[in-house]
């Protein structure tokens, strides 16, 4: 890029072509006040505060929109500039209410900061009265238009960052104001309450409504969001040992200063009155408070006894994808070294195992292959089986930005309408469970029409020969009979995908969490390999994770089939390395998966269980199985924030610290390691999970050799591939790009694998409809945390059974009528909602629907890879009305 030299405040400086004067000044360390400027938003030069004088021409220029040109002689603070700047601020203040003393924006108000900086107290102008117009009734955002300075930061954040476009200017001149379509209040608009507008508002016009503290806090800690797999960086503002506000952390490149409703308003659970504050031990029927010594002793004794009586494999540890990498490391060490079993798993595995085997088989590495930033460079994005706007909002923002501003084309494969479908160029709606046939047909079209990247395939891939043969039957016409997607649409999608130089695939639990998931993933990897879209910029496969640290927990080895770093249990060399380091003989037998633990517990083979941060009694799709399993145990230890339904059944309960009360790291779905920082003290006697684990190991008289967290991190660095140098220093927050080494290793060979899966024909005469479980933005995981964040309850997912209009007519159902939903496993009752957007024969219920678990049975059938967790076959029965 061409360098351009200009004179800036009498100094000769140079920047690259296209840079604005403001950018160059800030880079040089010269501060220019701005109100409408925001690094991630397109500059619009609205506030005019950033004006500077070009002494070469005598012109006053808005520096945020003025590119540097040779020969410029810029003075950022000439008397003329200062005079004009002061006038602008005085005019702004003349129509701004004098409510600074009571305004909650306080010292965070940029208008006030700038006015103070310029020494403007009295404007010397007659006031233009601005009546306070406060309209909102939602619990998130309060808007006072009298304080609005029309900088359009909220509008631009809504349009450019999160691409919801809920608000824009309405009317003109003095009458202009930001408004939703139809000028409805936000809660009646498309607003998702992500809080991006509040985070960028420079004045008190947009503020958080229900907040525990008025004013500006002195301390803040940048940490990592504990909800979905995006792992956004979030800054917690702290007052008196209380988290009072969460704002975008801006440490991570991809989050660009926007969170979602969970990140912005979901932290209230930290200070919930329901938090456990002391350890509890069972005393007959009830639990009573106990000292740490007593609880640890009792837990150690119970686990030891089970081990002695029934052997190590009668024990199991259920870790959590919500715990940090360090805690997961200690957990697997605890299971393998102290208990002597590989029975360690977490609930995210049920959705992740398909990724581990699918991606692992083809790429040799089970995870997302590129940065989220690279996704935005794609020309074509294929989103399959993911309601991204709900399950991974940050990814949805990136996809929408790519489509809206970078002309990317989006192919959505989903039977259900989602936020993304409105942005899609092609929307394929296959029948539920027919993804493999569809993906294979796409692949076949690409091969048959010779649209593939022959050079890439011949140089970088192996086993191409298996492909054409295995795809023989998957002609688009055949796929049409299976999937219901017109053959021409399949051809069109394949051509679109193959024609682009850079294509990405994003997939989520819609394919990973169902029967044949691994095959679908293999099929989509084939598709990506065929077109050379695995690794380079703008290409990649993005495997979305449901939980914030699902990727980390698996990387770190808290899974039954792998040692840390995906080393197989039968890999003698790797085993020896770990055995030497840990000074132990590792168990050889593959451990039980999350689901198998419950099945075996119900059969009496698992006698003692240690559950950390999970609530299977509620969150397992089949809660009946979970409860039966838990109640047949001899001994149950639960470690959690709350007295969950699972904890209520425990013999010993340890109170754990939340993400805001401990240190550590989370690995997000991209493979970026985000630091978790302690913001507040844990309530009562609760302790971070890792401390509890170390103390429990001590109580079992097999102490683990770590004095502090740093030692654990050092060992992870040493033993876990790709975590080298993820390194953690006191007082640092931020992100480490640990995956670079993996991505580089990916640049090597990849392999084509046969993907073949057609779900067996089942007799569906009894249960002709397919029920899809709909994810919800405000109900996350088992809802332990989100249900204790009062503000998130404001947007409850409507607890209705959505039914397609044609099906409703056939069954002569009317809206709001209560019906019985019957599946092979059980039944539930719900009120009907007619949904015009659903395809025929498909009904859907929100994940938070009480009793939805009764419709699923996990008792029979295979393991994680053959489970279908988000759909099942049902029929609807009318409830005879009482006359």
């Amino acid at each position: 890029m061409q360098q351009v030299a200009i004179t800036l405040n009498k100094r000769l400086v140079s920047g690259h072509e296209g840079m604005t004067v403001l950018e160059l000044a800030r880079e040089t360390g010269i501060e220019i006040p701005t109100l409408c400027h925001e690094p991630y938003l397109k500059p619009i030069g609205a506030c005019r505060l950033c004006l500077v004088e070009n002494e070469a021409s005598g012109a006053l220029l808005a520096s945020c929109v003025t590119p540097i040109t040779p020969g410029m002689n810029i003075n950022t603070a000439s008397p003329r500039v200062i005079e004009h700047r002061k006038t602008i601020v005085r005019l702004m203040l003349a129509s701004h209410p004098d409510s600074c003393i009571v305004c909650d924006k306080g010292n965070r108000c940029q208008l006030r900061q700038i006015a103070a900086g310029l020494g403007i107290g009295d404007t010397g102008l007659e006031k233009i009265p601005q009546p306070a117009v406060v309209t909102e009734i939602n619990p998130y955002i309060i808007r006072d238009l009298s304080k609005c300075i029309l900088c359009a930061r909220c509008i631009r954040a809504c349009q450019e960052l999160v691409v919801e476009g809920v608000i824009d200017y309405c009317k003109r001149g003095f009458k202009a104001y930001p408004a939703t379509f139809g000028d409805f209040p936000l809660e009646k608009s498309e607003c998702t309450f992500c809080g991006a507008c509040v985070a960028v508002c420079p004045t008190g016009a947009l503020m958080e409504k229900e907040k525990p503290y008025q004013g500006t806090t002195r301390t803040s800690v940048t940490t990592t969001c504990p909800f979905c797999g995006c792992g956004c960086s979030v800054r917690l503002e702290i007052k008196d040992n209380r988290v009072v506000r969460a704002v975008p952390g801006r440490d991570m490149l991809s989050d660009r200063g926007a969170l979602c409703v969970r990140g912005s308003y979901g932290y209230d659970f930290i200070h919930s009155a329901d938090r456990l504050t002391t350890p509890l031990v069972r005393d007959g029927e009830s639990l009573r408070a106990a000292s740490w010594e007593e609880a640890l002793h009792k837990a150690a004794e119970g686990l030891q006894r089970a081990r002695e009586n029934y052997g190590p494999d009668s024990l199991a540890v259920l870790g959590s994808a919500k715990c940090t990498n360090e805690e997961n490391y200690l957990l697997q060490l605890f299971a393998r070294k102290i208990l002597g079993t590989n029975n360690i798993d977490n609930s995210a595995s049920m959705y992740q195992e398909a990724t581990r085997s699918g991606l692992g088989a083809s790429l040799g590495f089970p995870g997302t292959t590129n940065h989220l930033g690279a996704l935005e460079q794609s020309e074509v994005i294929m989103a399959i089986g993911t309601d991204t706007a709900v399950s991974a909002p940050q990814v949805a923002y990136a996809i929408k930005r790519a489509v809206k501003f970078k002309k990317a084309k989006l192919i959505v494969i989903d039977p259900r309408q989602t936020k993304l479908t409105a942005f899609a160029q092609i929307w394929l709606r296959p029948r539920v469970g027919t993804d493999v046939a569809l993906l294979n047909a796409l692949t076949k079209v690409i091969i048959d029409e010779e649209l593939m990247d022959i050079e890439y395939v011949s140089r970088k891939t192996e086993d191409f020969n298996v492909l054409p043969l295995s795809l023989e039957k998957y002609s688009p016409e055949f796929a049409e009979t299976i999937t219901g997607v017109p053959a021409d649409d399949i051809r069109q999608a394949a051509r679109l995908y193959a024609a682009a130089a850079k294509s990405s695939i994003v997939y989520g639990s819609g394919i990973a969490g169902r029967e044949g998931g691994a095959e679908s993933i293999k099929a989509l990897v084939n598709l990506a390999e065929l077109t050379g879209n695995i690794w380079c910029r703008g290409c990649g496969i993005y495997a979305l994770q449901r939980e914030n640290n699902a990727q980390g927990a698996a990387d770190i080895g808290a899974v039954p089939e792998y040692l840390p770093g995906y080393k197989r249990l039968d890999d003698t060399q790797a085993r020896r390395k770990f055995e030497k380091r840990w000074q132990v003989n590792l168990p050889l037998k593959r451990g039980l998966s999350y689901l198998q633990v419950f099945r075996q517990a119900a059969e009496g083979k698992i006698r003692a269980l240690f559950v950390v941060g999970e609530n299977p009694a509620v969150s397992l799709a089949d809660t009946e199985l979970a409860r039966e399993a838990l109640s047949s145990l001899d001994f149950l230890v639960v470690q959690d924030l709350f007295l969950t339904e699972t904890a209520k059944m425990a013999d010993v309960v340890f109170p754990a610290a939340s993400f805001a009360e401990k240190e550590g790291t989370f690995t997000n779905f991209e493979g970026m390691v985000g630091h978790v920082r302690k913001a507040v003290e844990p309530p009562g006697e609760s302790l971070p999970d890792w401390t509890i684990l170390l103390r429990l190991a001590e109580a079992m008289e097999k102490p683990l050799p770590f004095a502090n967290l740093k030692h654990v991190m050092e060992e992870i660095e040493e033993l876990v591939p790709h975590y080298e140098g993820y390194h953690y220093e006191e007082g640092r927050s931020g992100w480490e790009q640990r995956r670079d080494s993996c991505w580089e290793s990916l640049n090597g060979f990849v392999r084509f694998t046969k993907a073949d899966f057609l779900s067996e024909k089942r007799d569906t005469a009894e249960v002709p409809l397919t029920l899809i479980v709909k994810p919800s933005l405000t109900h996350f995981g088992s809802g332990e945390r989100t249900s204790r964040s009062p503000r998130l309850r404001f947007m409850p997912p409507g607890n209705f059974l959505s039914v397609n209009a044609a099906d409703a007519a056939e069954l002569s159902l009317c809206s709001r009528e209560r019906v019985k939903i019957v599946s092979a496993a059980g039944e539930a009752e719900a009120a009907v909602e007619i949904d015009m957007q659903l395809p025929p024969r498909i009904v859907s219920l929100p994940v938070s629907f009480p009793g939805i678990d009764r419709l699923f049975s996990l008792r029979e059938k295979g393991d994680h890879s053959s489970l279908t967790l988000n759909t099942c076959n049902v029929r609807i029965e009318r409830i005879a009305k009482n006359v």
Binding site: E164, G165, V166, K171, R172, A179, T180, F181, G182, K404
Partner: protein, 166 residues
């Protein structure tokens, strides 16, 4: 003026057909809404999501543009737009009374439209024929030297033809 039917329900089929011609062309927003207004007489708010969807814009963005321009209307307009001049010359010659009488005659306030969609009342700052003050414009016809009697004749039930030269 425009070809106005009494609109109870907007013919969305017609709207969609119109919008289809401009699909995926962001630049075409203004010509499109102008044409829509030409056809329907105004831009019904329920057409905004259709326009936004076709052009790849947000409904709030489209609303922003429509509300910016004074010539774009989101409410039905009368077949005849009555513009009474409020300029200085007309004011001195009794323009205020003329406006009052027109309001009485039509039963409208400024900016309103009669229920039968016959008339819309507006005021203008000056129409440039101060020599004929007080003046008013109905449809495309200019009426000068107005007086109460003339106002009465103008809005007689049967005399409502304003598309011919007087």
């Amino acid at each position: 003026m425009c070809n106005v039917q009494k609109i109870d329900q907007v013919d969305m089929g017609q709207v969609k057909e119109l919008v289809e011609n401009y699909k995926n062309q962001k630049w075409s927003l203004i010509p499109l809404v102008q044409q829509l207004q030409e056809e329907l007489g105004f831009i019904p708010p329920e057409t905004v999501p259709v326009i936004a969807g076709a052009l790849g814009l947000f409904p709030s963005e489209v609303q922003g543009v429509i509300s910016f321009y004074a010539q774009l209307y989101t409410e039905p307009r009368g077949k005849n737009v009555v513009r009474v001049c409020r300029g200085t010359a007309c004011h001195v010659r009794g323009g205020k009374t003329i406006l009052k009488l027109v309001k009485q005659q039509l039963g409208l306030e400024e900016g309103e439209t009669t229920e039968d969609l016959e008339y819309t009342l507006e005021t203008v700052a000056c129409i440039g024929v101060c020599a004929l003050a007080p003046t008013m414009v109905v449809g495309s016809n200019v009426y000068g030297n107005m007086n109460p009697k003339k106002v009465g004749q103008l809005f007689k039930k049967d005399g409502g033809r304003h598309d011919e030269k007087p």
